[in-house]
């Protein structure tokens, strides 16, 4: 059993007629994802390689039964697109867009939190359940089906760690990129709770970075609620304070949000932290071999 996206997911893509949206949307379909609709206001009635395009998400959901939305629209319009998808009643919105104003995300987060729609992202690579469905931009060919759940604030670093796991013969149940923005829809805790409840996942790898205190809170959550082994990686030990390191959320503010503090909090709560991506894969492989 994968989490969040699987063989049953019916995907609608906001921005399917755009260059990025069509490239990745169709890529997702080739992987086997059930891409049922696209949405571009003003282009309803057209199709993208056979995928029907609608003016509104409401129309797309009514006509196709889509339950998962992927948002691929430019930053000024992305918050609107996420709210539209939630209003149309999808279960899950995956927002890939990078560069959404943080005040927009405050409103979106607060609104969605009160309803039933889950948001993953923004500024994330999406979600891949190997062998079942790919919603986003994760290059699926590095990953195979398996029992490691992977959750990360970073894209490429996830591919690096996933690839190192694959070289050691381990696959993934689901890979979730939660995004590198300061305000994101789903936290490490949200995703780890799903992995904990998913029988197929036997080990969880979390990949954090500087900024905020999510990793510290996750450490406490893991100690109290998670029975499965968790291996962690934290990026940004050499990041100077006050500088945004690529991701809008990756910033050490004063003495807060350092990699050191996060690694220490995780270790204090019994989570093993690899010093390099390679070491994370080694520790994960050892842990799984010991459990087998």
């Amino acid at each position: 059993m994968s989490i969040l996206v699987g063989a049953d997911s019916k995907l609608v893509v906001s921005g399917l007629t755009g260059r990025e949206g069509s490239f990745h949307g169709l890529n997702n379909r080739r992987y086997g994802t059930d891409l049922v609709a696209g949405v571009t206001p003003g282009k309803g009635g057209q199709d993208v390689e056979g995928v029907p395009v609608f003016h509104t998400v409401h129309e797309a959901v009514a006509e196709t039964g889509a339950d998962t939305s992927m948002v691929f629209v430019p930053p000024p319009f992305a918050a609107d697109a996420v709210l539209e998808a939630a209003d149309a009643g999808v279960d899950l919105v995956v927002c890939i867009t990078e560069g959404i104003p943080v005040h927009d995300m405050l409103r979106v987060y607060t609104h969605l939190h009160r309803g039933a729609t889950r948001l993953v992202g923004p500024n994330c690579p999406g979600i891949l359940s190997p062998g079942k469905a790919n919603v986003g931009i994760i290059p699926a060919h590095f990953f195979s089906e398996g029992n490691v759940g992977l959750v990360s604030r970073s894209g490429t670093l996830t591919y690096q760690i996933g690839n190192e796991l694959a070289q050691r013969g381990f696959g993934n149940s689901t890979i979730v990129g939660i995004g590198g923005d300061p305000i994101i829809g789903s936290s490490f805790i949200d995703v780890i709770a799903l992995f904990e409840a998913a029988p197929e996942t036997e080990l969880i790898v979390m990949c954090g970075e500087i900024g905020g205190d999510e990793e510290e809170r996750t450490a406490e959550y893991i100690a109290e609620h998670v029975t499965k082994p968790v291996v962690a990686y934290i990026a940004g030990f050499t990041a100077p304070p006050g500088k945004t390191m690529g991701h809008a959320g990756a910033i050490v503010s004063g003495s807060k949000g350092t990699a050191q503090a996060k690694a220490e909090a995780l270790e204090a709560h019994g989570v093993r932290v690899g010093r390099t991506p390679t070491e994370v894969a080694e520790v994960a492989a050892e842990t799984l071999a010991a459990a087998a």
Binding site: S152, T156, Y159, G212, K243, G254
Partner: protein, 387 residues
Amino acid sequence: MDLLEYQGKSLFAKHGVPIPAGRPAGTPEEAVRAAEEIGYPVVVKAQVGIGGRGKAGGIKLAEDRRAVERHAEAIHGMDIRGLIVHELYVEQASDIAAEYYAAILLDRSAKKPLVMLSRMGGMDVEAIAESDPDAIVSVHVDPLVGFQGFHGRRLAFDAGVAADVVRPVGSMLERLYRVFVEEDATLVEVNPLLVTDKREVVALDAKVTIDGNALYRHQETVEFRDPGAEDPQERMAEERGLAYVKLDGNIGILGNGAGLVMSTLDVVAQAGGEPANFLDVGGGSKAEAIVDAVEVILSNPNVSAVLFNIFGGITRCDEVANGLVTAFGRLDVNVPFVVRLDGTNDEEGRRILADAALPNVHVEKTMLGAAARVVELAGSPEGTATE
């Protein structure tokens, strides 16, 4: 984007936050003209994006024209903790009955704005937070409801502000919240928030940070940018759309994806090296972006070796290799490069590099191997080893 005091105050004025009369001045002569318009006494204030201006002698009271001349001459061009003062702000002097502290920031944990108020203003707030945490009161605001009258009353009463200014302090907070939301700020800080002898409440300082992602809808804020005050490499990178942060070391770093680049810096540091920069060339990087990135990295004279760490997802390793070959053709490269290409089209990328036989370019298969190699080469900038 951090605003200077006078820039923050112009946003305050726009939203009705009371401030003393003031004018920015680019030269001592302009400062005098500003003072003549405002009327004496005035305060001449250095405009630099750093705290501790007063202690450094960057804020001076002037009773008359001659004092303004003297202070403006002294402050203009002054070095305050490494920052040269290019701009001044001349402000009507205020008499001080009490100094409070107010701030609105983004609380990432709670995912809500946090409004803070303290009766102990005019000093280092982090020091207060440590020595006397109860002296600072705060409330979260629901972003969908916004700042309400009760928020202001609660903060003012809980902070113990003088009873006669509870209402104006609340009103000030409400207007600061408007600045926070409508100007897309991630921080609005007023220290001190002043109560004058006439019991007026004014913002005597302004520290405002604007969300860079929201600048597209704030043209007037974009114009506050002073490219001359920015680091030359960081400015060059920004013009080319590259995420770049300059660091103190000598090993230039390029990678794709913020997390992978941060991890690369860490791994290089673990191997005993010192990174000269963070540079995320982004997803789907084309050859042209690589050329731009190499130029930015090499424009830092401290760089004595460069590490490329690419894990190709959407980014194709052959594109990166072609970019590097083009860069070597166009630029004068005289430091060793270590290149690690893994992922999409990695074999093709390595073949392109082998065929091009670039001088002093070393190909490594793993991230850790590449880090160790570049640290070794950075020690000897003329590096004689070849692949």
